[in-house]
Symmetry: C2
Subunit: 411 residues, 2 copies
């Protein structure tokens, strides 16, 4: 008998028929003797409908009231899900974030979970109840309703799994697992049976939209075994996110190719190569609440250096304006911007113990005539910035050169 | 400066435009220096939409989960109303029933309010906030969400007014006050400037749908000054429900004519006139959870008596079946039923000190050839049961004979 947290997203509970299917799936796990906590999102479309109402009243809706409003979406789903379970003969009880209570900070619309009082949930589980918890929401210390931001239901599920020391946290989505890359770009992309937590973190941060990155971080921090499964196909084993590299013998060196077109590149040419210059460039950008991703500074020549960084594409014009304003102050020769770039990344814990991964990747790209504009590396990933028109080609080339189309067992 | 609780029902907040109008009205009161608590219902149609979802899942939805579900209706409205107020430059803060906290018993879908913790509301009012509270809902001692049953938002408003010792509780509806009778039946029907609490209670219990009877009872218990106003017309003074009869000189003897077609009549003929017979007849009816309204037993002749009572029309067939089953047991000659009846009532605290009201009413009906089937009286009302086809005629005749079409001042 295991304690399992199962999270179903908005598309999995989009209609009453799908909610009934969720209930049937939960009932089968329950019949196998498992204790089940179900975490659900709002029915697909409901959050946007509520946001639309708010925006008709206020261009920038009051954050506290916005949370009161949109949190009703999940509250509707928990009640309906509990009813569907009860109708199947199970005992079920729903909990809002406030009722649990999922204590968060008071950063409305993007709150962070501070603590979960799991006593009532555990008591209900011991009494044989299926517990249904509203994802995405909590309450601050003053009992104001808060929400965790888009995709926060994943985080709720992981946090509850951590609090209850669950045996597994299952995230049901519209894909059946984590793939070596996007199957829409590379037909031969393969579902991974396992992926390490660190790889998953890189994949998520690099634009693979299977899991919200905060939930992966949370799972890592509390070592919650996390599994991604399809909510529409029965019997699949999905992808398990593990914390062990012990099974390396069976693993590929590289797990996947991630990519995104979410960023834009800004280069400041010919700035004095002196201490504090990076802060003088990035300080005003940070002050404007613009997140910076990759940062590259070359070795200076003749006392001058070039400085490049990437920002979210939505912040590109704002960041360019800021840089043009500080250009003379920092004595830069020129500020260049490019929002037609793509970032492609090779991810895998195996590269820690293998040399030559970077050179293999660079050679493969060069053979296709793809120019690399920026490079950034970590222990388990290599990211390159290229012209966005080559993105799909680069992904296919890298997927093939690292033999990701081959089953892991054969490596 | 007064503390005013203003309640707006579902039709008053049915659309975003109407919510904006509510906000404008509240803002004007606030600008006059008043402290305002706004109590709102779900947007018209929303509660039924949610109930519909529940009933697609369960023929008899789980009551606890039903309350979790339908309470989202008011939660949406409080958030939107607070946003509309904020957009007008006011400070506003919303509260769910749980957040207030409005403590109720645990009778899901028909809970009763036990206590209201008004400390937070009062602190917000002192800080200049308009406080927006969800009607219709509360939480039991275990923090389960409860609802007060249909029309419960009126009760919430009155209960909060009582807890805060508000100067007035204003109920905004789609009519502009309490009328001497329904203007759709009697064109000359007149809005009452005041009505006593006891009269209002009779009017409400007799089918006048302006206020939910529980809220009137609550107002009476805590002596909350209650005013009924139109939410669509500006500047009206509506009808004030008072607790004083001191202004009797200016008052009509009779305040209004109430009526309904909600009931059906059952007569048990020729039952032995012995102790316990009423219980033998009504016991099985009560056991079947059927409410009985009027009960009449005539003086017995030759050791036999006739026994009549009325039930809600929806319970008529069930009640008849029960009576036919017990007929032989109680040695009754015959059981007769009639669901084509109407109850018409003359209501007024003035009749306490005036004789002849009953005879005036009976003569007026007799002159129109309307046969009276049952009569029941209280200190401030006379009700008669008649054939339903004469109902409108009876209402018009009684309205005229008691000069209700004349302004109160001229009496």
């Amino acid at each position: 008998m295991a304690l399992i947290v199962q999270k179903f997203g908005g598309t999995s509970v989009a209609t009453l028929e799908r909610i009934k299917n969720v209930a049937k799936r939960v009932a089968r796990f329950h019949a196998d003797g498992h204790q089940i906590v179900v975490v659900v999102s709002a029915m697909a479309g409901e959050t946007n409908r509520l946001l639309g109402l708010a925006r008709e009243l206020q261009a920038r809706p009051d954050p506290r009231e916005l949370d009161v409003l949109v949190s009703t979406g999940e509250q509707v789903t928990i009640a309906l899900t509990a009813m569907a379970l009860t109708e199947l003969g199970l005992r079920a009880r729903s909990y809002t974030g406030t009722q649990v209570k999922i204590l968060t900070d008071d950063a409305h619309t993007k709150a962070r979970i501070l603590n979960i009082d799991e006593a009532n949930l555990r008591a209900d589980l011991e009494d044989g109840y299926v517990v249904v918890v509203a994802g995405f929401q909590g309450a601050d210390a003053s009992n104001n309703i808060t929400t965790l931001g888009r995709g926060g239901s994943d985080t709720t599920a992981v946090a509850i799994a951590a609090a209850l020391k669950a045996d597994e946290c299952q995230i049901y989505t519209d894909v059946d697992g984590v793939y070596t890359t996007d199957p829409r770009i590379v037909e031969e992309a393969r579902r991974l049976k396992t992926i390490t937590f660190e790889e998953m973190l890189e994949m998520a941060s690099l634009g693979s939209k299977v899991l919200q990155i905060r939930s992966v971080e949370f799972a890592g921090k509390y070592r919650v075994p996390l599994r991604v499964l399809s909510s529409f196909e029965e019997g699949g084993e999905g992808t398990l996110i593990t914390f062990e590299e012990g099974t390396m013998m069976e693993r590929a060196i590289i797990s996947g190719i991630a990519f995104n077109k979410d960023e834009a590149k800004i280069t400041v040419l010919g700035v004095p190569d002196r201490p504090g210059i990076a802060y003088q460039i990035l300080g005003p950008v940070a002050d404007a609440n613009i997140d910076v991703d990759m940062i590259i500074q070359n070795v200076g020549v003749d006392g001058l250096t070039d400085f490049s960084f990437t920002v979210h594409r939505g912040d590109f014009h704002k960041a360019m304006e800021i840089l043009q304003q500080v250009q003379s102050h920092i004595c830069a020769r020129e500020v260049l911007g490019d929002d037609k770039i793509a970032k492609v990344s090779v991810v895998g814990v195996g590269m820690r113990s293998h040399v030559g991964i970077a050179s293999t990747a660079f050679r493969a790209l060069a053979e296709e005539g793809i120019n690399i504009q920026m490079i950034s590396t970590s222990e388990i990933k290599i990211s390159v910035v290229i012209d966005e028109k080559y993105m799909e080609l680069a992904v296919r080339v890298l997927h093939k050169v690292f033999e990701l189309d081959q089953p892991a067992e054969s490596v």
